[in-house]
Point group: C2
């Protein structure tokens, strides 16, 4: 294998995997580095957090996904820096300390973490939703609040515990609100003797002027109305000022809450710092039209951590941007290795936007097409099962969903870990 | 509901649940207390530890199991003692501290924990297999050893990491050995580039003279031979003298190992200490023929934590003893409340013993019937699916098993938590 160009990819999310797969037939050696052993299907993470799916249903070992791609090697290790001059990626390996991995091409697909806009002290009380550990911890908090409420005598104390505040009304906040409302009103309805789960409060707080800011106004209004019909209290244009053990302060109003979740913002991983590269105001790496780093044509940045403008607007942080970017970069590298001319600049093709609100209701927009209701929900379910297919998880999710749909039950109501 | 006799049950395992269900139609109020929110189907725990099943597949919320039983209330709390004079159970409740729960009848079904025979310092290096947290931690250790080995250059270091030592060759040790051998030889075979998973060593160590000491000698010999054909190294009659970060010392021989598991012994939970009751040498509560505590006819002890002799031999710590004991106690309480005469003494009816060794092979004995091979394996699978049925988990496990059987894959290969 000596002499074959070496492509090192950091991150086994949508972008990194797409890049690796696009190189399947290229005469290169691919090394994919991730700090976890699994690819996570993030669009369904909210279902793990609300006990609908199990962690294993939406995650698959990266090396299992790439097992048949013989030019690809997978390494579970934490990337910590780039020595761009020496063309080496720095990683921490458990038994060996820092190891340098030489590359001819480097693809950074390291994604984003939750951002608390400088209030990192909020993180303790209001976890985000970016990893499986987040999801199982959120699940334990929600189910644990009901369990603790059942042991309390005073109705007021029970009511405080059974208040869930969701900070941020993007797709994740909206999907969480719908799922928690359903969990309380249907799934848990008969399971308690002292607590009435139906009395649980779900409060969705958004600093901006409306829910689903990236969707068309008419769809956002429909989702707003749908959530209110499900009993969700919505506060838009109201910033969160304080979060502590007992609840939140929203625009001067104190809300006692047993569970607070934070999906209000993201910050890019430190790829830009590794490169010493220019960034946009959000900290994402500014890239060339071919997604390479200015002055470093052998380094590419894809997905949420890249700042790429198209028609003057930055590309959104969604799975499709990462998938298409990863695939483009993989093909670009393959062409360069083959001595073929560079491809035209990367162009994102918008496949549309989807958000789901409980069962039987979703909103979908694609170009001028706007759809809401049951048909959009069916499309949502079909598309997600379809994308899961390549990760071997289709059968399990489908079984769970069909079972849940008819029984109103949720199959993964575990409280694990310390309590 | 005032005035109805109050039955408090501690433990939502096989024994506690059976007692609660046997009281479904009795004019009593049942309160079931458990420190977790779920009933755990322990016989399949080794499959979670070896990535075959997900935690949620073999666990169901206790309150979901009892949702339709209107005289039953479930409380998630940690029992800490019994005030037998006042007829009160002491529990720790998160928001309220110590709470006293009055009872007219008390059923203790608190089970056992792993015992290290005085060497509790081993626990850090060699976890047991009694809870879901154990199982996911063992899973992370096994999969993590392969991941770390893939990053190492030296073949000897890789070989040490890829050695799994199982201490204790009862059913759990035997089942783990078979499952890990299969995981390495089949499931992971194609997934690594540097490591050859087939070269992984599985060493089964037993201080006693043979594997499966509770089974007939002829079946134990068959299982021994089967495991050896699968590549498992077996050391019987060899006590473990030392366990540390790097491996074990067995009868003077040092074995470097990346993973060590302990299933060599159990110790009863502290129910005896709560009661100040007499125990057998293992610390289990000595009970009357009706499973009540001597001098305390209103307190019953069932399952692994009870010391009950039958034909001179103590009953084994298996699910069937707990289920039959719990059901007997529930019926006894119902009769007493109804003013009917006491039932005849508890008598365990042996439904047989089963152990499984990888796919297609199990051993079964029931009275004089002894069976080994594929038919026993099919019976094993059928019986386990059947028992899971009442916990709503049948469909998921069945789907997983059929999928795994034909693909040789395992659906739950996640490394979660700190690494």
């Amino acid at each position: 294998m000596a002499g074959r160009p070496r492509v090192v990819i950091v991150g086994g999310g949508f972008g990194g995997l797409a890049a690796a797969k696009a190189l399947a037939h290229a005469p290169v050696d691919v090394l994919l580095v991730d700090r976890t052993n699994h690819h996570l299907f993030q669009p369904l993470l909210y279902q793990v957090a609300t006990a609908g799916l199990a962690p294993g249903d939406i995650a698959a070992p990266i090396r299992q996904i790439l097992r048949a791609q013989k030019n690809a090697t997978v390494m579970m290790a934490e990337a910590t820096g780039v020595d761009a001059g020496a063309r080496e990626l720095l990683v921490q390996v458990p038994e060996r300390g820092e190891v340098r991995l030489a590359y001819d091409f480097l693809v950074l697909a390291t994604g984003v973490a939750q951002s608390y806009f400088g209030r990192d002290d909020f993180a303790r009380f209001a976890p985000g939703l970016k990893t499986l550990e987040h999801a199982t911890s959120v699940r334990a908090r929600i189910l644990g609040a009901f369990e603790r409420a059942e042991t309390l005598e005073r109705p007021a104390a029970r009511r405080d515990l059974l208040t869930v505040v969701l900070v941020g009304a993007g797709p994740t906040g909206v999907e969480m609100a719908g799922a928690i409302a359903e969990l309380a009103r249907a799934t848990l309805a008969e399971d308690f003797r002292r607590v009435d789960p139906k009395s649980a409060r779900v409060v969705l707080v958004e600093a901006g002027p409306r829910v689903l800011p990236t969707f068309h106004e008419s769809l956002a209004a429909k989702v707003h109305a749908r959530l209110e019909r499900m009993g969700v209290e919505i506060r838009v244009g109201r910033p969160v000022e304080q979060i502590d053990e007992r609840g939140v302060v929203v625009d001067g109003e104190r809300i006692e809450a047993g569970v607070v979740l934070w999906t209000a913002g993201v910050k890019p991983s430190p790829a830009a710092a590794w490169l010493g590269a220019a960034t946009d105001r959000a900290g994402r790496v500014s890239v060339e039209p071919d997604l390479s780093v200015p002055g470093r044509p052998e380094i590419f940045v894809v997905g949420d951590v890249a700042a790429k403008l198209q028609e003057g607007a930055p590309l959104p942080g969604v799975a499709q941007v990462a998938i298409q970017g990863g695939r483009y970069v993989g093909r670009t590298i393959a062409r360069r290795v083959a001595g073929r001319p560079a491809p035209p600049p990367f162009r994102y093709r918008d496949k549309g936007n989807l958000a789901v609100v409980g069962r039987n209701y979703a909103v979908l927009e694609r170009g001028r097409l706007r759809l809401s209701g049951w048909l959009a929900w069916l499309l949502w379910a079909t598309i997600h099962i379809g994308y899961l297919a390549e990760f071997n998880n289709k059968l399990l999710v489908f079984t769970q969903w069909v079972w849940s749909y008819f029984t109103w039950q949720r199959g993964s109501r575990l409280i694990l870990g310390r309590h």
